[in-house]
Symmetry: C2
Subunit: 482 residues, 2 copies
């Protein structure tokens, strides 16, 4: 039997080496594993359960706002990918190509979808005929492949799982409204479920989706001072409608090109969740997305299997029936101490200890994963107290992340200030920006930071561009990014 | 505005041409559509909603029996596919190959998974070390690609969605128990949710999964007299464990090869559902898998939008809040008659009509999709009566399908009897079978029927093989199949 806490030593401390900590947690908590396919990971059950909780919640939000799911083919003929010029230019370099099928060389090679605009728009051209068919609000949960050179579990992988929404509207204004509505759903999800505060806003032209008119994103600050793009929502204008001939008869009986949006979040969100909240002991999961919200560990002393275990089982059933996600760790091959460390490493928000003395007193011990604080709770009050504690942990994680972001958000009035901050503290740097691609490129070249989002209203104290000194109609948020 | 029932004429009658009816229903009910990718269909929202209901129910059944979901890579290196000799021989001819990625020709070509044993077993070899790691019970919901020559929406498509379970066990007996447990889940799902009676049993060697020791299947009889394989469960023995070196230390500290199973059902089930229950007016969906269990159609007479519509909305909200899946068709661009025919064609089990007279009487009219029988129901009794009617329709569909199967199940004592039946009535033909591949091949060659399942106990009146006259330890169920 392993000595208590032994294996926790196998995890690099988050405070010592963030990158190594991340990979250690992913592997030791059995969230994902490397596969024989370079750049493609296996999502293990515990990691997949987090993704299922994310997916189900997002799915409810999409459906509540009128979207329906569908499924489009995995493979896209090259000629379709080429119809929108910017789109193919952006994606062709990272496509995986199928060139043989059924023992024969194919006449036309087929792209494994890197995103599905090209195949979906070809169907929309058939389905959309009249204003009565609009808006068309469809989402797809699917796998996509982008041939990446440098990969990292969840954060950047050659294959990933995602949802991609594709909508069609009768007017430019409706498409813009949809783009922002989805951005807002993403922000709400990140903050209320993931407990990760995000900035939302527009991207600069150099960072927008290949084929879009405007790209909006939510961006989260990670503890290493880098920003992570956690979701994007694109206003496609009429670009794809013109390339794929999606036209409808308007109320005034004119034949018009339709207006479109597309938007997506991916398994990358799991990576964001891991990075945002973990500590030196391992993972910490926000209760709303924790596959196990509380683990019951019976204290294995004396004849515990006759005395303690039956009551532990009763508590387990009771909490489960109340809709809480509970696990009873009744293994007799590990000590309680080993189990404590193991479940802490796996990020379970609350531990419920119950031993012979607790049976006498008709109580349990609740332990908070964030600070290991203990509380004795009577059986009769357990469900209520546990629910309250889970809510408290959810809020505390969000507050911690907001404090971290506030401490790492800086203002730069000049280019040298910007450079100094980026070389020392990193984080999010707000500056005035004139809007020119040259100034943006200069920052990227000299600091490797990019504009994560643009905020339209300039900060009062940033009236000029930090790079060129010209008038600044925008505030740009610069950061290094994943 | 379209004249009432006009579009229903566009559907071939089921009683006239079953095949044409099937394709018409798939297209007109907007379940699926053909895509630019030959053999690959688009699953439209209404069809996908049926699949979501199936998936969610199966997922609950898998989880209740201890299985957890995970996700493995889409692409499999050719060398991995080749490790199990029978497996690669069975699947290689229908593989789609990726030969280029990221702008370069790949050193080794990659198969798009036709099934995932090869990639999953390579991971299990890493994860399984001790008897403590067993059983390992993992399922995956994923897309797979098999390069098919002749395709048909849902029934046989080059890409399809499915679940594939892959389990590892410490003994042969446990693997066999799992194989049969899953077969039983499939049978329960088909009968209790799809309302489709199925035969379950073992396959002959010629029909078993490439790499399995034994394959079990559920088989449903379709109204055209052909059998449809609706799910398979394989006992893989140690074949893959030996090919991929999956070994574990047993309780007696011996290093042993593990025992495995794999099993799957696919979007083909949607095809089975369509075929099993529809009629000349279109689709009929069993209530437990109907995305819309009842549609409310307000009668648009006079100032209905002020008088009828508010009450229709109230009823809609009330039924929805009780957990029923309800749609309120408040479109003012179609007549009630047109809507009736439209929703009948889409297979909604119950229609709720409400007009000015019903408002006066505080009632609605419930119409049963199976027989168009009408019932006047007071508002106060509606939820209860609707629930009861849905249950009645679910049972009636199952009973109808059982009657159809009974009428089309035949017994053949001799080969000429077997041939006669296959040339005239078709259906399921039970015969004695000696167990030889030669007799099986002879039937296939002369009638194109194959053994769908083998039942171990021979029927009392079929003591000899219908082909060779030798002693028959088995009853074989022959049929033509999809």
């Amino acid at each position: 039997m392993a000595a208590d806490n032994d294996f926790v030593k196998e995890i690099t401390k988050k405070s010592v080496d963030f990158s190594a900590w991340y990979v250690d947690v992913v592997k030791k908590a059995e969230l994902a594993d490397y596969s024989p396919m370079k750049g493609m990971m296996v999502i293990r059950p515990y990691g997949y359960e987090i993704w299922e909780l994310m997916r189900d919640q997002l799915d409810r939000m999409f459906k509540a706002s009128g979207h329906r799911n569908a499924y489009f083919p995995l493979l896209i003929p090259e000629s379709f990918l080429k119809k929108e010029a910017e789109h193919v230019e952006g994606f062709a370099p990272e496509v995986a190509w199928v060139t043989m099928g059924g023992g024969e060389v194919l006449e036309e090679r087929l792209a494994i979808r890197p995103t599905s605009e090209a195949i979906i728009c070809s169907m929309y051209a058939k389905w959309v005929k009249s204003w009565r068919d609009l808006p068309l609000l469809i989402n797809q949960w699917a796998n996509v492949v982008r041939w990446e050179k440098v990969t990292r579990p969840f954060l950047r992988t050659t294959e990933f799982l995602w949802q991609e929404g594709h909508t069609v509207h009768a007017s430019e204004a409706e498409a813009q409204e949809e783009t922002l509505k989805i951005l807002d759903i993403y922000k709400t999800f990140a903050e209320e479920y993931m407990a990760v505060p995000v900035l939302s806003g527009c991207k600069s032209d150099s960072e927008k989706f290949a084929g879009a008119v405007k790209t909006y994103a939510i961006e989260a600050l990670m503890p290493d001072g880098k920003a992570l793009q956690a979701g994007t929502s694109h206003n496609l204008g009429q670009n794809f409608a013109k390339a794929f001939n999606i036209r409808f008869e308007s109320r005034s009986q004119q034949l018009e090109y339709a207006w479109q949006t597309s938007w997506g979040v991916s398994t990358r969100l799991v990576g964001a969740l891991i990075m945002a909240h973990g500590d030196d002991s391992g993972l910490i999961l926000p209760p709303r997305l924790a596959p196990i919200q509380a683990v019951i560990v019976p204290i294995s002393a004396g004849n515990w299997q006759e005395t303690v275990l039956p009551q532990a089982r009763k508590i387990f059933e009771d909490l489960k029936n109340k809709g809480l996600r509970i696990f009873l760790d009744d293994r007799d091959t590990y000590t309680p101490g080993w189990k404590y460390a193991d479940w802490e490493m796996r990020g379970v928000p609350v531990r419920i200890e119950i031993g012979p003395k607790d049976i006498e007193k008709q109580q349990v011990v609740l332990v908070n994963r964030l600070n290991r604080k203990k509380k004795f709770i009577a059986w009769t009050a357990l469900a209520e107290e546990l629910t309250r504690l889970l809510e408290e942990i959810q809020n505390e994680l969000f507050n911690r992340a907001k404090v971290l972001r506030a401490e790492n958000t800086h203002f730069a009035a000049t280019f040298s200030e910007l450079k100094n901050i980026m070389e020392s503290k990193r984080g999010l740097i707000k500056t005035g920006w004139c809007g020119s691609g040259d100034c943006e490129a200069k920052v990227k070249q000299e600091t490797s930071a990019t504009i994560r989002v643009i905020q339209d209203v300039p900060e009062a104290d940033l009236p000029v561009c930090a790079v060129c000194g010209q008038k600044a109609p925008h505030t740009a948020v610069f950061a290094k990014s994943y």
